[in-house]
């Protein structure tokens, strides 16, 4: 069996992980295993993180490494440190992070408090979404007077957002 990373050498390190009840297997050659920190027990947790970040799929598809546009952070850096580079990294590496977070936390959606200003902001954007749905409905039913009213209300909210 060839190494999943380099596809050149014979794989001698077989890593099996169970994430969310699903088994993931990775086969590595000695030098790649060392590279990924799999061979030393202290680096093992980092390897978990690496695999959690969807690195296995990446390796399979041979994609170039993703890089955070804001801070220049890469997956390799994450593998080394187990920390992210900046808040924008959460969007940059969103795909891989989701499975990682799933294994770490109770849920994937924040339900706690938020900064007051933002909570007002989100309340408005939520309201606009609801109104947009209503608008569609009344237009379909050809209730144009109501539609105009809803549109006005939405515009008011939009200007509030821009302030």
């Amino acid at each position: 069996m060839l190494c999943d990373v380099c596809q050149k050498n014979e794989a001698t390190v077989y890593l099996t992980q169970i994430v969310e009840g699903k088994m993931q297997k990775v086969n590595l050659c000695e030098s790649c295993a060392k590279d990924k920190g799999v061979s030393d027990p202290t680096g093992f947790a980092m390897a978990d993180l690496l695999l959690g970040l969807g690195a296995t799929e990446q390796i399979e598809h041979g994609q170039p490494a993703q890089k955070c546009a804001v801070c220049g952070f890469t997956q390799v850096d994450f593998k080394k440190t187990g920390r992210l580079g900046c808040s924008a990294c959460y969007d940059t590496f969103a795909d891989g992070l989701t499975s990682l977070l799933k294994g770490m936390h109770k849920g994937l959606k924040h339900s706690g408090k938020m900064p007051e200003k933002l909570s007002q902001h989100f309340a408005i954007t939520d309201r606009i979404k609801v109104l947009a749905g209503e608008l569609k409905k009344v237009v379909k039913e050809e209730k144009y007077e109501e539609a105009a009213q809803i549109r006005d209300a939405m515009q008011k909210l939009e200007t509030k957002l821009q302030k």
């Binding site: 801070c71 900046c86 808040s87 992070l97 977070l101 849920g107 924040h110 339900s111």
Partner: protein, 372 residues
Amino acid sequence: MNFDDIMAQPGQWLQGDGPHDKIVVSSRIRFARNLRERPFPGWAKKAERLKILSEVQNEVAAIPAMADGYSAPLQDLTALQKQIFVERHLVSREHASKGAGSAVAISPDQQLSIMMNEEDHLRMQSLLPGLQLREAYKINNAADIFLEDRLPYAFHPELGYLTACPTNVGTGMRASAMVHLPGLVLAEQINQIVNSVGKIGLAVRGLYGEGTEALGNLFQVSNQTTLGETEEEIINRLVKVIEQVIEHEQNSRQVLLERRANMLLDQIGRAYGVLRHARAIASKEALNHLSVMKLGADLDIFPEKAQLPLDELFITTQPAHLQLGVKKEKLNPEERDTLRADLVRAKIRKIPQPNIAKVTSAKKSNPKKKAK
């Protein structure tokens, strides 16, 4: 406020009273916060770290609770001073290893401390005596509300507060209580408790947090997960578990009194004897004996007034606190052990011998009050 002012007071969490303070030494709430789209401290270059610090520092100083407080960039602190803060649980071990680009601010009552550019741009923590997680949350939350208006926090509508380590994302909150469990340790039930607490998603750690040993029968219980639950849910869950741990500890103390009184008295007597007469004692040994003596004071085997000096010794016998009291450059371990024994003897001398009658009478007067 300067360093000496901080040193002059042991901090409210040590001195003050709180609910269940015989078993729950202190409660702590910590928030991790970051600035939007700015590199986290571990990834930022030094110039960027300094820039972030300068932006954050003024706002932190303006927090009402920080008025007349203590604040210092870490490069202005000596290694000894940093270690003192670690021993007082005001600064994390990780933060103490930082230099230029990082800072710490401490409120005058030492209830609130804020680390700037630790692993996250802001780590704010409040520390109170006894089981007071909800009260500690209020203190931290007030500071957080003050800062959120003035600093562009990194907040994501789905993921909540964004942190350098994905394990903290969401609420960014770690709630923890330091519990003193000599009864469960003596009754050899502590592992069961540690395991069952671990199974329900809470962590049990040693005295100085992650990766540290449980010294002096002190354990930290904290939440492991930060995403998917509200702050209130996390705290409620933790409080519930801690209340159960308290009950188990009380039960095992009662069982020890009733069924293994001789072993208990032997342990307490030995602890007293060692601390009363030792001429050299290592930190670990001192802490373990102090813990057993503290148990003795909880059980009225030592008088009520012995509590505070014992609690203070938990802190003042730590290496940095010992070093601070002497003029000499750096004590070697043997000198430190001698000094520690001197300090301990001076305090323990004032505490009378264990009152054995308390245990035997407790045994007789409480024959029916069996532990579950």
